[in-house]
């Protein structure tokens, strides 16, 4: 074993991935499964039945204290004031003063004035430093508690909730009764009807010591282990941005299809609000479907009547059996417009479509 591998961080499920023969890769310093044999097969299992992902590398942070709500209303571009009941969840960006995206996250209302945010693994340390500096700047009475004691298993697919209920009877009532984008505590776990695949499903946050037993119980119900490879093609088909590829601190949410997550009303001043108001978006996020044979990849150039742009996430769509991409294009580009993509020295024909490409097992774009 090389020193690089030895230095990778491991989730509580690492030994299971290795026992299953997963191809392990370095993801943001974590030793994570890319696939367990066939990424495409895992993708189809999630679209058609149920699959599970170890996403314990993501960081849950509990935000508590008398000023937690006020603190998050300033910290996040979406407004936690919308979370009026314990268990309600919200997707949001966290912005810099200049409107650039530091991270995208889900924030859950825990009740009792507390919240839980779940951060991307690759940005978790920077996010924590930012959140602590903002807390200091506001002199907030806020506790920030990173929850590395939790494992997170995302169970996704049309049969995910049913199979979770069968595998984990103590969570059955919660699994069956949850409304979309809501969460509830049950039997020491925190279970949310959220995900990153465009399918129905759950994200289970469990004490690390319970993760292996839960994974095995889910496997016994026929929930297929799925790796980061399938997670990426599923989210791409679902038209969901991936931080670090489709957006980063050089891009505002208005330029990457996330204007709907920016709450501009409500009489509050969030970090980045002024910059967003004074900096009209010159670019937009578009979906692309490749018409000719070939494969679109990240960073390939795009040209169209409206001007030049770039692919931010390109790849193969197992559901559509062709190449799809998310791209950043000039504001004037419109759905239906023909474009050309530079694929290995050739300009191939593609067309602009409105993401998502696939949701809930259904193809939503015309080919």
């Amino acid at each position: 074993m090389s020193t690089i591998q030895a230095a990778r961080r491991c989730t509580p499920l690492n030994a299971i991935h290795r026992a299953l023969g997963a191809k392990m890769v370095d993801f943001a310093g974590w030793d994570m499964p890319l696939h367990y044999g066939s990424q495409i097969e895992e993708h189809h299992r999630v679209r058609r039945d149920a699959g599970m992902f170890d996403v314990s590398h993501m960081l849950a942070v509990d935000v508590r204290g008398a000023q937690a709500r006020d603190y998050l209303r300033r910290l996040l571009a979406n407004d936690v004031a919308k979370l009026t009941r314990p268990g309600a969840a919200l997707y949001s960006c966290m912005l810099r003063e200049d409107g650039g995206v530091l991270d995208d996250l889900i924030v859950y209302c825990l009740g009792g004035g507390g919240f839980r945010v779940v951060l991307n693994a690759g940005t978790a340390e920077r996010d924590m430093a930012w959140m602590e500096s903002q807390r200091a700047a506001q002199a907030s009475e806020v506790d920030l508690v990173p929850r590395r004691d939790l494992a997170i298993i995302a169970v996704q697919g049309p049969r995910a909730r049913e199979k979770t209920g069968a595998a984990l009877p103590l969570l059955r009532a919660a699994a069956e009764g949850l409304a979309p984008f809501h969460a509830v505590g049950a039997d020491g776990a925190f279970i949310a009807r959220t995900g990153y695949t465009g399918e129905d499903g759950l994200e289970l946050m469990l004490p690390a010591a319970q993760a292996v037993a839960a994974w095995q119980a889910l496997a016994a119900q026929g929930v297929a282990p799925a790796g980061l490879g399938a997670r990426d093609t599923l989210r791409l088909e679902a038209g969901m941005n991936l931080y670090g590829r489709d957006m980063d601190e050089t891009v505002t949410p208005l330029e990457t299809g996330l204007a709907w997550t920016v709450a501009r009303t409500g009489g509050r001043e969030f970090i980045g609000a002024r910059a967003l108001a004074s900096r009209p978006a010159a670019r937009q996020r578009c979906g692309l479907v490749l018409i000719e044979r070939g494969m679109m990849r990240d960073h390939q150039k795009v040209r169209c009547a409206a001007g030049a742009g770039e692919i931010t996430s390109g790849g193969f769509s197992p559901t559509l059996n062709r190449s799809i991409a998310l791209a950043r294009l000039p504001k004037a580009a419109a759905t239906g417009d023909p474009v050309e993509v530079e694929v290995r020295d050739n300009w191939l024909k593609a067309r602009i479509v409105e993401p998502p490409f696939v949701r809930q097992g259904k193809v939503l774009v015309t080919l």
Binding site: L34, Q39, I40, G294
Partner: protein, 129 residues
């Protein structure tokens, strides 16, 4: 058996089979398809194209990445496997049956410079990190 003894191999992970008619059949090794993951697109050279040893002449795209396929010997492309181009997953399932193209070598001496199974197995192992 992931490196059959009856084949020759290039350091860039193509396998080469000498046929009775003097042509050679080319594919990619078990090791290569394993590194690539699920293969979803193959662009073969056109029949009639003259290739030089080491020249890029085909492209394989997997869910993960694009990989250039190099001509293991110089010569003329005399066949390309359209069935495999239509069902690229066959390269993952059986890389030594799912051949890509055939070449009529112009410098048959080049074949002697390719690796045998044992040497290739060692080479592939040394590339795994």
């Amino acid at each position: 058996m992931t490196t059959p003894d009856n084949l020759k191999y290039s350091r860039s992970h193509e396998w080469v089979k000498s046929e009775a008619d003097g042509t050679v059949t080319v594919g990619i090794t078990f090791h290569a398809q394993e590194q690539l993951g699920d293969i979803v697109f193959i662009q073969n050279p056109e029949v009639g194209r003259k290739v030089k040893q080491g020249e890029e002449c085909a492209v394989i795209e997997s869910v993960k990445a694009a990989a250039d396929i190099y001509a293991p010997v110089s010569g003329e492309v005399v066949a390309a496997n359209q069935e495999v181009a239509d069902s690229p997953e066959r390269v993952n399932r059986d890389p030594y049956a799912a051949w890509l193209f055939r070449v009529r070598p112009s410098s048959p001496g080049e074949l002697a410079g390719l690796l045998d199974a044992a040497a290739y197995a060692k080479h592939a192992e040394s590339e795994e990190s």
